[in-house]
Subunit: 497 residues, 2 copies
Amino acid sequence: MSAPDPTAYDKLADLSRELRYLKDAQAILGWDQEVNLAKKGVAYRAQQLAFLSGEAHQRFTREEVGDWLAEADQSAETLNPQQTANLAHWQREYQRATCLPLALVKKMAETQALAHEAWSQARAASDFSQFRQPLGELIELSKEQVGHWGYSDQPYNGLLDIYERGATVQQLDQVFDELKPDLIPLVEEACGRETYAPTELRGDYPIEKQTALNQEIAESIGFDFDAGRIDTAVHPFCTGLGPMDTRLTTRYDETDFRSSLYGVLHEAGHGMYEQGLDAEQHGLPTGDAVSLGVHESQSRLWENHVGRSLSFWEKWLPRAAHYFPQLSGLSAEQMYRACNQAEKTHIRVEADEVTYDLHIILRYEMEKAIFSGDLALDDIPAAWDEKFEQSFGLQVDTPANGCLQDIHWSMGGFGYFPTYSLGNLNASHLVAAARGSGSVAAAMDSGDYSPLLAWMREHIHQPGSLLAPEQLIETAAGSPVSSAAHLAHLSQRYLGN
Amino acid sequence: MSAPDPTAYDKLADLSRELRYLKDAQAILGWDQEVNLAKKGVAYRAQQLAFLSGEAHQRFTREEVGDWLAEADQSAETLNPQQTANLAHWQREYQRATCLPLALVKKMAETQALAHEAWSQARAASDFSQFRQPLGELIELSKEQVGHWGYSDQPYNGLLDIYERGATVQQLDQVFDELKPDLIPLVEEACGRETYAPTELRGDYPIEKQTALNQEIAESIGFDFDAGRIDTAVHPFCTGLGPMDTRLTTRYDETDFRSSLYGVLHEAGHGMYEQGLDAEQHGLPTGDAVSLGVHESQSRLWENHVGRSLSFWEKWLPRAAHYFPQLSGLSAEQMYRACNQAEKTHIRVEADEVTYDLHIILRYEMEKAIFSGDLALDDIPAAWDEKFEQSFGLQVDTPANGCLQDIHWSMGGFGYFPTYSLGNLNASHLVAAARGSGSVAAAMDSGDYSPLLAWMREHIHQPGSLLAPEQLIETAAGSPVSSAAHLAHLSQRYLGN
């Protein structure tokens, strides 16, 4: 007896896995570009990546794929829940991919490459005029793109949906309107408190000792070094190159070991999510991380809820002092306070937990205004500075510390920033739920994070993209996400109540 | 006026460049596997490489490619010499590729990736039984492959031709029959001479200082670090990932800096060949290295003719002593003698120049016997040990020092080893010719290797695969290669006459 003919669903699953081989090849080329590639190799690498993107796009947008989708849809009642979720995902992606004209796709890629270079130079020179034109083009191309996709209510919704399926202005307005009134006084109070002076920690921290401590901690919390590694890069990131191959990067400050440590904890959080996905489902949506807002919940969780907790330092300070004897005189309480200081500063990536979301709200409001047409290109720097002063009470001295600081817009990543705040809210909401389950809280408070990881594995990692992001969080936590848990966490940590 | 339709040749050239994007993606996946990949990532990497091999194979073997080849052939009189060489190359490759079943291509790639892992473990455990099964599979798959291609006289000829276009058992028997009668007495005499005892150089050589010295030397001889890098791997190798991206690896012995240094000089020789290819032609045969025998001539040239010369140590000993003060008391003459000691040992990659070709002859005879059916899989270790004792007068104590020492068979690289001896002969032949040209000899003898590199750039690197290997060497040197120059070189260096 011969094997039955593959069904339309089988063909789609095979295609999905094949496309993933190509995407994972792109991922290693991208990882290598950040970690290893010498400068003369960059131009060819860009061509090669463009070719592979085009290949993946062409394979996916073939007419027969549309036929398979229609056919699979007709026998949808034969599919199990995983298969149903995968089919819905492919339908959505196919619809989005096939309605973009090839010329627009190419123009977008080309403009992004140029804009990235222009942004680098504009930021170095702290001169918005050098970034103005490509930024304007990317905004127009993004509008064109969402015009092809279609959107409900306003174009910005179409962009938000790229990074967080189902996210809308209406929903995010609600999130931030709920968060802001309590966050602002909390920021004021936290920033006004006297804390352990961070300068006392500055000193000499040799890189190889930082590496050894980071590795010891990452391994202890559950990052599997038999299925991944940590390298050095200018901008810390995490990327999955395959179901058993997750790469983290960090950067080192030889005067403060916390820079690389918190980089590693953050990226290891992303990495453990990747390592916790169902390897059997790799290449299918159910084997993929569900959204940036959920991904960021995992990184924030390990960086902040674990890594900046008192129990973490009770456990790890002796090891840190083993590598860095200058820490021997400190108490865990002092280290805890030194790692949780609120301060209003200009740069998002250096912000503490309590001021962080103010940076995101500013960007969200800027993007809303840009895509509703209320904010013109030339007015972006002044609008940023005005908003910043309103929120932070600080003047922006120069555009490099203002609207030029982040890479995202140069990549056309409009709608990306809000996922950082969603990540913060999700992290606090999930940690609160996990702590209410079995021995998680008691274990965490004694420095044992394995029950916490097990909980995340079961409720967040293993389902992949089976559920929509909000649904996943609600199912995992038993209630929909709100800002309550996050505000309680910040208040407890920064105000001690 | 619109652009004219692309010709059949143009279509083939575009395809060739596209396939190169895929092959360069495979190259980085392979490089990464040796340098970075954690063990749980190996299985997926094997599947991914198999997929990409299959992709490249399918793209190249489409029927329309055959039509383009026929069409280009019909207007062959319109092509320039580069285009003619490219077309001939594609015709030959198409003929070979179209007669291989896709399943075999994929099976080969997958088995290679798994065999590599098995070999690593088998070598570490010095246990042939762990490598036996994948080795057997690779031998059978290779036989199947040459069966599809067809071959003249015997299957091994089909394998030899992969690495050195046109090489046959008949020709190689002739090469080795010419070399052996003079080499064997030379080995005996060289190994019998009293030399500077190498143990005097053993000491403490920190890896970071070895790295710094190697980098300084590699840069000085012409390896471009803006278009490449050096990493650490179990088995030193060089791989090109793009026209401006050449990766070298070496390994470190903390008791003897020469191990990593000569590894780097060897691989930098390969690397400078890659860096010297015409970047505009990347993706076309005329932008590719022509053969392994020519590639190896470049590595041997820098490792031995340059790196083990007296003038090299006159120039570099002071820098080496700067990094390793224990070398301060040595003279350049002593170092020269210490780096040119003939000794019969077990490991090919550590062999001196004079005994080296005996290692190759052994492997060549083993492979001939395996593919003629005279040597069974299970008899390989014993046959190796017996042949080794015959040639070297030494017993093989353990398989790691015998038939498990080399990586090549784990990659299915049967027919590869003879190119090392061809490389030795080519190197000596080319150096003799280059030294007869302009200021090359005088510059070399004063430690300036830039005229030598310029000569190789012009005569060997820039032509790519325009000519067949033997033709390239003959055109460059003004006479066909023979063993004369190599024997003269060995005799001068090891016997001083």
